[in-house]
Every structure is written in C-alpha cells, then in structure tokens.
Symmetry: C2
Subunit: 148 residues, 2 copies
C-alpha cells in the first residue's frame, strides 16, 4: 500500500510554516483535527496541510479565526474532503473577497478626493457616511469587518 502519510505536529509545523503552539491552538478552536497514537501524540492526515494553508490565506485578508472556523465546519468531518467540498468553500470565500475588494476600492477612490477637502467634518463626508458600519457595541478589540 501507499506510504502511511500520517504527520506529527512537528512535521505539520515545518511544512506549513506555523508554530506547533498555533496548531495546538487551532485544534482547541476546532479548525483542525487529529487523532492520537497509543502514546497520546497527535497524528494528522495530509489534508491538514490544506486546511492550515487556507487558514493562513484567509487570515491574511482579515478574516477572523471564528469565521474561518465556520467555513471549515462546512467540510465533512468524517471523510476526507473531496475536491467539490473544497470548491464550495472556495466559492464562499471568493464572494467575501470580491466584497472586500470593492470596499477597499471605494475607500481608495474616495480618499484622495476627500482627504484634502473640507468634507472631513464628518457630517457630509462620503467616506464616513457611506456604508457606515460604526457603533456596533460591546467590549474589546474590534474585528476588521469583512462580510456583507
């Protein structure tokens, strides 16, 4: 049979470029899964590499681990995800990205018109008042907004 391509945390860390502690952390957050050897050590299937890659990619565009977790939760947990499973994810992500790109463009184009003029007195500033997402309440740091 083909080589039993089980990976240890260390190997996954190596190959994915994320720290072992981060992998542990992702596991507690349910973003990745492992099974254990008789000696209680983690072993990962190959698909964990893809998952981790996606986690990092998504994070780089400002999507929170919680949201990534939700998306990844749509993958089947019993079997190894198929190409189609991943495809669904891809589509969902693409929409979020399109949205975010549009948002950034709006900001960029608004910015140079706006920043030098008097409109920053807030009331009439198009930057501030278009798609205004302020004033969501609650404590702690604010997340970078992404969704609709």
């Amino acid at each position: 049979m083909a080589p039993a391509t089980e990976l240890t945390v260390g190997q996954v860390a190596m190959r994915s470029g994320v720290a072992v502690s981060a992998l542990h952390f992702y596991e507690t957050r349910g973003l990745i899964r492992s099974h254990r050897t008789s000696g209680n050590q983690r072993r990962y299937g190959r698909d964990v590499l893809r998952r981790v890659a996606i986690i990092k990619v998504a994070q780089e565009v400002g999507i929170s681990l919680a949201e990534i977790g939700e998306a990844l939760a749509s993958l089947p947990e019993s079997r190894t995800p198929t190409r189609d499973d991943w495809g669904l994810l891809s589509t969902a992500w693409r929409d979020a990205l399109d949205h975010k790109i549009a948002q950034l463009k709006k900001l960029r184009d608004g910015l140079s018109d706006c920043i030098g003029c008097g409109c920053m007195s807030i009331d009439k500033c198009p930057l501030r008042n278009k798609g205004d997402r302020l004033a969501n309440e609650g404590a702690g740091a604010r997340r970078l907004l992404v969704g609709p």
Copy 2:
C-alpha cells in the same frame, strides 16, 4: 472674530461617532492632541475631526493604530495642517491601499484555482509562496499586514 470653535471631548465624540474613552485612548497613543482648560478639561481644535475621520477610515482597511500614528506624525504639530500636508498623507495612504487591493486580488484569483487542486501541499502553492511574509517572530497577536 470668528467663533472660538473649540470642542469638548463629548462634542468630538458626538460628531465623530467614536466613544469618549476611545478619544482618551487615541490621545495617550499620540494620535490626537488637546490642550486643557484651567479646570483640566480637554479642548480640541476643529482639525481633530479630520484626524479622527482618517483614523477610522484607515482602521477599516486594516491599518493598525501604530501605523496610523506614524503617518499622522508626519503632520506638523505646531500649526494647523494645511491642505498640502493632508495631501501628502493621502498619497501615502493611496499607495498602501493600492498595494492591499492588489494583494487581495491575487488571493482571490489564486484561490479558486488553487483551493481545489493539490497544490495546497504548501511547497508548491503559489498562494503560500508568493510574497511569503510568514515567520516574523515575537509574541502576541499578529497584525494584518499592509505595507510593502
């Protein structure tokens, strides 16, 4: 003379849509300045509204307060910034935004090709290996990267 348009924290909070506590916080971080009345209360010049607006706008696109602070530090601290002063900032910002938009597009376009294929085995994945900014070390949360 024209009305002495000094603003209290409360007024700035109202007009800018950020909490009083946030304004205090920005001040400790050097993002905005105030002078005090004889009774030790803060008073702000009108330009603080523009500063705050810019802070929020920049934050929305994922720029950290530290970076915003650096940019704002380029403004003259003695006199009220002129249109040209703001213009410089605007230009710098625009570049950062262009960069970020490009990055997002690369991700978006790479994603659907990439996510469903086998290339996520990291070594050869174009998403992971182009402009790879991993492995900056140090503790704590990672900032969303923006700059060059």
